[in-house]
Structures are given as C-alpha cells and as structure tokens.
Symmetry: C2
Amino acid sequence: MPHGYSGKILRVDLTEEKIEVEEPGELFFRKYMGGATLGAYYLLKELDPGIDPLGPKNKIIFAASVVTGAPVSGFCRYAIVSKSPLTGGIADTQAGGWWAPQLKFAGYEAIIVEGQAEKPVYLWIDDGEVKIKDAKKIWGKDTGETQKIIREELGDEKIRIASTGQAGENLVRYACVLNELKHANGRLGMGAVMGSKNLKAIAVRGSGDINMADEKTVGERAKWFAQNFKDNVSNDRVSEYGTAELVNALNEGGMLPTENFKTGYFENAENLSGERMTEEILVKGEGCYACPVKCKRVVKTEEPYEVNPKYGGPEYETIGALGSFCCVDDLVAVSKGNELCNKYGLDTISTGNSIAFAMECFENGVIDEKDTGGIELEFGNSDAMVKLVDKIAKREGIGDLLAEGVMRAAEKLGEEAEKYAMHSKGEEIAMHDGRAKGMVGFGYMVGPLGGDHVVVEHDTDFDESALDTWVEQAKPLALIERIEAAGMDYQKIRQFMYLQNHFSMMDSLALCVFSFAPVRTLTMEHLVELVNAITGWESSLWELMKQGEKRVTMFRAFNVREGFTPEDDSLPDRLYEPIKSGPLKGLANDREEYEEAKRLYYEMMGWDKETGAPKKSKLIEMDLEWLIDELKI
Amino acid sequence: MPHGYSGKILRVDLTEEKIEVEEPGELFFRKYMGGATLGAYYLLKELDPGIDPLGPKNKIIFAASVVTGAPVSGFCRYAIVSKSPLTGGIADTQAGGWWAPQLKFAGYEAIIVEGQAEKPVYLWIDDGEVKIKDAKKIWGKDTGETQKIIREELGDEKIRIASTGQAGENLVRYACVLNELKHANGRLGMGAVMGSKNLKAIAVRGSGDINMADEKTVGERAKWFAQNFKDNVSNDRVSEYGTAELVNALNEGGMLPTENFKTGYFENAENLSGERMTEEILVKGEGCYACPVKCKRVVKTEEPYEVNPKYGGPEYETIGALGSFCCVDDLVAVSKGNELCNKYGLDTISTGNSIAFAMECFENGVIDEKDTGGIELEFGNSDAMVKLVDKIAKREGIGDLLAEGVMRAAEKLGEEAEKYAMHSKGEEIAMHDGRAKGMVGFGYMVGPLGGDHVVVEHDTDFDESALDTWVEQAKPLALIERIEAAGMDYQKIRQFMYLQNHFSMMDSLALCVFSFAPVRTLTMEHLVELVNAITGWESSLWELMKQGEKRVTMFRAFNVREGFTPEDDSLPDRLYEPIKSGPLKGLANDREEYEEAKRLYYEMMGWDKETGAPKKSKLIEMDLEWLIDELKI
C-alpha cells in the first residue's frame, strides 16, 4: 500500500456465534472512508432486497471513519447503518460522545453484526479480544441499569457502552441506541434492529492509539482548532445554552415547529428556551471526546417530575418535538420526557412527533379517551405527553400503535389521520419548518433517510455578495436562515445539491456538523489538512466532496433496489399549506415548484428523471460500477 | 467585494476604432477565472451562431488568468479564443513565453478584439494607454521583421509582441500567433482570424505589478517550486533535451506517429531525437517567464539549410509532424521547416499533418507532379517538405489547397483522399497515436477542439496499486503511457473525464501543463495554496476542478449552438485500423467500443446521450443557467 493506512473490520455473526476480523486494505478505506459510506457498501453487497429489517437477514453496522478518534474537536462520531424498520430504506444515524474513539483505540473501524442471537446477548470488545456475552441480567433493563451492570460485570468503569433500552427490545420502530446514556444514534430505529437480533449492547474498551501519519501536525492543528471552535461557535452561545439556544431565535423568526407544523410560532417558547434551562435546571454542560464546547446539557429537577441528571438534558430537537410541537411549554416535563426517551432508548424526535400526531387525532375525534386509556390527549397537556412516552416504550395501549410510527399508525386509523402524519418515507419529520426553511423542506422530500434534518443541515439562502455563486460552497457555510417567502430557483437547487454533498462528506467522515459546517474561521483547508495528517494521504476537498456525493448515490441505489420511486419523494400536505400564525403567517410551499425542482435535482445528481434511479454513467463516475447489475440498469 | 480581487478587460473595436476598459467585478473573475473559460463567456454572450470565423462578426480574445504573471514557474501563459476557421467550433490555443505577464503588468486580464480594421493595424498597449496603430510597414512581413520594426518604431526593445506572419495575412486556416518568435498559440487558425481583421500584432508593455494578496507566501512557494520543478521534471531531461526527449522513448514504445499514422515506429527516429539535437545543432535552451526549466530549444544550422536561431528550435510536436509523420529523418530539414513556420506564422502540427496527407495522396495517385509543380512529393522527401511549408504560407500552387487544412482539401480531392485526412472536426490530429494512447484517441474523438492533444494530455492507464481509483486523480498525475493492447473499460472512461476536467482547469488558469500535471512532487495542494495567495480567495481543488468542468461544458455548448452533433465526435478510419509495424504492430481501436464509450461519456458529463448537448440540469449545476435559452433546451 502506498501510504500505509490500514484498518480492521470486525464481523460478528450472532446466529453462528462467529467472530471474524477483516482487513479490506487501504484502497478500500480510501474509497469508503467511513460512516454510512462504508456501511452502505456492506449493505449493498450483502443484503438481499426485500428482507425484513427486523429479521435475521438484516445487518447492522457500527462505523467510525478513517479520522475518528484523532484528538480533534468533532472527530468523535460514528454511524449506525442498517435497513430501517421505520422506512424500509437505508438508515444512517450518528452519535458523538465517547464510544467511537474507544472502538478505534480497540483497533476497529467498524463492526458488522449479522444474524440473530438465540437468546439475549451483548458484545464485549476488549482490544483484540471479542466476546459474545450473555445478556440475561440486562434484558428488560433501561440504558442506565444496563450500563451499570455491564461495567460491574466486566469490572471496569471506563468501558464505553452503546445500548438500547426496553423500547429496542419491544421493537418500537424508532427505538434508538445511546452511549453514555445521552449521546443518541437517534433516528430510524436502530435500537429496534438491535432488539430484533437479541443484541442489547456493545461494550468496548481500547488501550491502543490511532495511528496518525503526522501526529505533530494533528496536535498543533487540534489545539488551535479547539480554541477557535470554542471561541467561534455561535459566539459561545452553544456552550452556554446548548443547542436549545435556537429556541427563542427560531420562534422570533416564526419558524419554531409548533402544533404538529400548523404554525411556526409558539407563544410560550420562552419557557422552553436555552436561557431558561441554564437559569433554572442546568447542572452543567458536557461535551464529547476532545471537544471543549460542551454543548450537551445535564439537567436535574425534582418537581413536578424528578429528572435524573445522568441522562443528560434536552437538545433543541427534543425541546421542539416534546415541547412546542405538542404545545407543551413546561421545560421540566420536556426534560422528563427526554430522560424517559434516553432510558428506554426512544428517538425523541419521532416520539414527540408521534405524540403530536396523536394529539391532533384526539382533537379531531379520530381517537378518543377509550383509545388513550382515559388520557385527555390535547395539545399542551404536558402530563399526557410524559405518559405517552412511557406507553410507547412499553407498547401499552395507544402506545403500541404509536410505536409503529405515524405513517403506519395513520394507515390503521384511516384517511383523516393521514393528514396529521408528519413524515417523509415513514420517518417522522424533524424540528425544522420545511416552509420557513424551504430547502430543508426540499431535503425532507428528496433525502434518502426521510424526515431527517441532516440532509441539508442549513438552509441555502446566503448573503448575495459573498455567496451568490456555488463556488463559495466549498467554504464553511455561514448559518443564515431564510426567512422571506418560500420559493424555488435554480440557484437554490444548485446550492442544495452542493450542500448535500458537503454534509454527506462530513457524515462519511463521521464529523460533528458544528465543527466545519457553519463556522467561517475553520476552513475546509484545515479539514483537508487534518485528514491528510491523520491518514497520510494527499487528499483534497475535491476528493472529499466526491466521497459525499458517493454516499448520497449509494443511499439512492439502496432505496431504489428496495422499490422506492419518485412517489416516495414527497412531503406531507401540511407543508404545502400556509403557516397558521406568527411572523411567517401565510407562508407555504408551492407543490408544483417542488415537484419540478425534484426532477431537476434528479437529473443534476445523474439520476434518471423519471425513475429517480442512479444512471449507469453516474455509478461509473462514482467508482460504483459494481452496482450496475444490482440495479439492473 | 469581499476579497478584493479586481481585473480589467480591454475591448477594442477595430471597425469603430473604439477602445474601452471594462471591470466586470470580482465575482465574474471567480466564476470565469481566465483563459478560454473567460473567453468562452464572451463568445457565448456576444457571437451569433453561424457567423463567418473570418468575417468581421467574429471576435478574438486574448486571455490570461487571475494567476498569470505571478512569479511562479508555469504561470506565464495565455489563451487565444475565437471561433475557429478550421473547425467552425470554438478555438482555444495557448502559449507561454513573455507576452501574457506583460499584459498583466499593463493592467489587463484579457483583450477582446472585435470588428475589422479598414487597413492593416496593430495594437499598442502601453500600460493605460492603448492605441490602434497603422501596420503598413509590417504588413507582408514575417514575424521576425514585424517584431523588429515595431520595437524600433516604438523605441523599446522590451516590448513584447504577439503577431502573425504572412500565413495569417493569407488566411491559411491554421495560421498561428507567436510571441518572441517562438512561443506559439499554434492551433486552430488564430493567425488567420487576426489576418481577417487586418490585425497584424499586439505589442504590450506594462510597468505595473500584479496585485497579490499574500506576496510573501507566493515568493516562498515560488522559490521552492522553481527548484523542485527543475529537479523533478522528467529528471531534468526536459531541460537537457527539450520536449524532443520523447522522440526515442515513444519510438521504442512503438508509438511515434509515422507515415500519416500508418505506423508508430520510425526506423530513423534516432536522427530526430532530442539527444541528437543537443549534440549537433543546439545553441542553448530557453524558457518562459519565471521558469528555470528552459525546455524551449534554440538551434542554428548552416547546411543544407540555414536556420536562424531567433526562431527557436523544433518541439516534440514539430519533430513528429514535419519529421516522422512525413518520414523525414533529417533534423536540419525539420529545423528549417520549424523556422519557416515560426516566420510565416504557421501551426507546425497542422502544417506537417497536411504535408503528410499530400504525400499519401501523391503516392496513391490522387495528386501528381502537375499538382505539386514538379515536386516529387513522396514520404521521406525532406526537401519537398521544406518547399511545401513555403508554398502553404504563400498559398502557392498545391499550398493553396493545403492551406485549407486536410478536411477541406480532401473534400475537394474526393473520396480516396478522405482516407488520408487525419483530422477530427477539421483540426489536424496532433502527434500522439490514438491507438497506442487509446484515451488520447478518445480525446481526439470527443474533445471540443478537434485533433488536439491537450484535451487529455496523457493517457489514463496508471499503476494500479497507487492509482486504480479516481480519487487519486486529484493528485499530480504520473506520466505513465499505456503500451498494452487498446481497449475501453469503465475505469478508463471515468479517468478520462476527471483528467479532462483537471487539464481543463489548468487551461482555465493558463498554467503550463508541465507544472502541475505530471510531477508528483508538486502537489495540487501547492496549486491551491498559490491560487489563494495570489487572489486572496479561499479556493479549493474542488472549486478548481469545477472550473475545469465548466470550461468543457461551455465549449460543448458553443459547438452545439454551431450545429455540431455526435457525428462530429469521430475519428479517422485509420485509427480503427491496425498499426502497420513496430512493437505495437497490429494494435487498433474498436469502433463499437469507442462509439459506446462516447455515449457513456456524454451521460457522465451531464450531456444528452442522443444529441450530446449539455442538459439544462448540468448548465444549472455549472452556474451557467444563462445558456439555457441560448441552447433552446
């Protein structure tokens, strides 16, 4: 190998109880650098289309990247990749924290888990020694108990554990995976896939180092970077208020998702704000490996709900979903909901979105107190919200229906209910208004994952003088939200595509989106420099952007193989209806514009305008010609 | 403007005798950085399709780039861009030397010349003072006399002059433009366009500096760069033997174009080699602005031809075209032919190719001694070759026919002759065998310029371990020629596309292809660093590669607007026939493979598979949506 980068893939067959280590070689890692790009490679090669996501034939992949674990802010993340039980398409969901660096220190880039254990197990990775362990003691336990018991059993407090809770065991379709009880691979039901495999947790301890080609450069750059990052991320507001710093600003702009997307303005948003959290219930901020920003929250409350600080505190998305989206203005209730989600292993976005759906169904008589077991499930009922979190995790009563996600629940409840189901491709939509942020809405529509907010993290309407040409997209992107009337133009679609590839590249490298995306002081040049210093490669932003494009292309190929069509690239009707109140009252997306933009976007991506499938020529351009036969094109 | 890069465009209307200076602003230069990308912008905006390339409605643009004139090896070039009288498509032809830096020192990025002077003129650019001057004294004169007279008239020996000779005045369709009598904008008839406008020369003197954002970095990098460049370019063989260092190597590999592409092996190639030139007739090597390599030759001979050293010496392409292609093994005759071409302003490649065509016609009885005025026009007749150069420039006898180029000459001579016409789109093919270098052949086929060797400068069959993935294309490319059997595969087509965009980017920046293309020690990272230090931008290889792709897209759009179809993307039959002799005897291209690859390549480029026209989506992606109406798509 010319540069010497090497990496190991751990493969665990739970059916056969077989553990193997594969070394696919440097060229493989150059082609599939990590995260879901690497994961999608294995899924596309090894999964048959049409398999049951919750059956033994699905595989679940935990993938760091070639740069993960370097002591640099934001280089701590990993993706879980599988076929989603929520959408039936590809799942890619990422978490920060401390688990992924440990995996790298133990010597692995990724873990492929296949098959299905006969009885509950967990995986114990102790550097080179890997064991499938009995999980009897932890099955049925929440994530906190699970972590405690495993650490006791293995006798090491420093073991990092990614586990699901009861929600995963109960196959809630949006059950999630957490490490350190608060860093969630939240979306698309990866906890359910673990549950279906009788896999409760993966515990990992690594004593090695990651092998960096130029440690000195990494160290120097990391030091400078950490300081700059801290100084520049939203003027330190993120350190002080967490991601919840957005609540007030978005509400003032009229774009805080409220009442199941009926509006973007929530009168009592102030009660949910990051400022309020810091003043009233914050214990401390916490961060991820090698990062000084500490954007994670730790909260503690006694009344009216007792919230255990070990489960962290609510992020912006959680406050949106369990709070404003349900018209709940009680930060303590939201914090309790968050704690429960983290204990049970529930995705807070899908949970809150499902509860809001149920609330709207209730208010419109689609369901009633008989269905809810007596709960007055009205918007704003904070106690009902907390109760429903519990019911969903346990699949009790109405919770059993909502555990299927809003798409499936609405199918069962009938046509009226479908109007209240805010999802794309079966995934509940995240807490960004797809009208106020029109290109985020477009991302919900065409994104491979569904209602995911990380397709294009930010909107694409930038300051004209500096950014009215796409060439500027190669730079870190200024976080400027679009607040004027919705509308499509060629420039926005172009910017969407480039931004999408840009964020996709960061996901492929398993980077924190805060690290390089929105902050101008940390340039793409620095990123390339770091990638090169770690791997020993002579990479470039060109190569990295192509890596991002490759990931999107692979995702598309996966979904097409599963039978997805352009019909699946759609938005809920509500996002074509006007925002009900607030500063953006009356704003709506134009359906025809969005449909036209969709076809144009397909063609721009090298996909067939009619079918949305990647063309042979695009697969070849992306060095993915092995997919031509798979897609029968 | 955010960064502060500014540039001026000089516009000269020869009909109205009007001179204007335009400042299109920084964003314009960020979008169209220079060379033919900038030139194509004006042609696409301002030319009506279908106009006569030799009429007053054509425009001719002399364009440096945003980085030209920085004191760095290879940053000295400029492009002449116009509608070609040879192909009817877009022309882009570049030269190094000293003229372009002077243009920048005088304060201009580019000159647009339009209209037609009533009587012969030349242009005199003396910093801010620009004059249209009477050219009576120099009309009818060769380039050497022209340069001498202008310098005397203006009283400054340091004035740099780009001029054409009698060939341009006589509208030889492949008449060229030279600066310093030896740096040629050789191809596609830019001398004829000047002739048609009664524009003999452009003289320029600049006393300013180019405005660099970070002079210190440029200086440091330039110093390091110059030394590395010199040390690493083909182990200094280029310094010692000029580009002619290739002659022996290519012949030994069986790929030296010989006998009008009948074969790739010339028995007497040794007589034409760079080694022989250095031993026997070399006066000295000469270089371009700020470059220590000195790859240009200066030769002097007395017998049997007297060659004046001021016109330089033959390059590899010239030795191929006037030498082996005509089976002429006399380096003195080739040097004389070269001197005459540089005096008259003739492109040596088209000239030699046209003479070989005539020789094959003569040997096959298509023309005879009556046509040639008594010349025994057989392959290997060096004296006949020299005589024909003279006749072509003066359009005397058979020279008048050959001055039209092989496509038009063959049309007049009939079907038999067409088999001997080695052109693509009307441009005579350069001195690289399109079978031995299969992807260079593909470049002749699909390239926008015709038989140009700079579409993909090098072949794409690289060492597997290091380069079998396109991601490696972002690095400087190892010059590894393909010598095994011809054949297409997906990887080659992918690499072709990326390499094409890569070289196109270098042309857009008006860089010497030797500077960044083939030498691994000078990385793309350095190029990006230099571009940024000069312009003050935060560019990236991604942006630069997109600039390259944009140029190719604009060229395609121009040609499509002129009526070019996929039929025009073709190769002469001979390149589908086996090489007659030598190490690669029997090697041929497969027509079906090439046709299939062509359609795949169209689709890869975002062009319509059937028509070859850029799709709306690609124009939008390239920030060229203003071309949608132009192309009526």
